[in-house]
Symmetry: C2
Subunit: 117 residues, 2 copies
């Protein structure tokens, strides 16, 4: 693969992670993800527990769909939303990898301090 193509792929991945974290940085959108983690729901169902207007919910839904965290499809007159498990996993993996790096680093430090005793 050409170097330019690899760089472009990496930048795309970075942009995708930006959008995932950006999507999760707002309480209303996290509430929607929370609700959808229990199963698919219509836009009206998503709006019910939130103290915001339906158009605002639709806007949040657009951000969630752009990030890839949520998909929706219209069945008759109802739009049903569901979580995309792979996107949730990608976000979790990003953090888990840094956490495991950090733990290795702290382990090395503890070992080093132990050897000094």
């Amino acid at each position: 693969m050409a170097f330019g193509v690899i760089v472009k792929l990496m930048l795309n991945q970075e942009a995708a992670i930006d959008q995932l974290f950006h999507a999760l940085a707002v309480p209303a959108r996290r509430s929607m993800v929370e609700r959808l983690s229990l199963g698919p729901a219509s836009v009206t169902e998503l709006a019910k527990p939130l103290a915001i207007s339906l158009p605002a919910v639709v806007q949040h839904l657009e951000v969630l769909e752009t990030s890839g965290l949520v998909r929706s499809e219209k069945t008759g007159r109802v739009r049903i939303c569901r979580i995309e498990p792979s996107a949730l996993r990608r976000t979790e993996n990003w953090i888990a990898k840094r956490r495991s790096n950090l733990e290795r680093c702290l382990d090395r430090l503890a070992k080093h301090l132990g050897e000094e005793d």
Copy 2:
């Protein structure tokens, strides 16, 4: 505990999670977290691989410190930054909980479809 106090605590927790995801939604800040997951570093070391000015790095550092993800302290003339492992774990746990809800939901669905066969 009074109801008002519990609601305030919950809102504080929500605001803290907002700040954690907001902090991670920008590539430069993720690079800094990535670097710090390998061990403590000075502000100059954090700036080195990034194609942005030192003042910009300091601004990103402030966002990371406000979120609780990073702590820094001045030793002589050098400011040393390190990750706060509990904040990283809190962010990971938030996602992991929703992922596990979702998996339970998908398992139930699979079982339900199996019973229908």
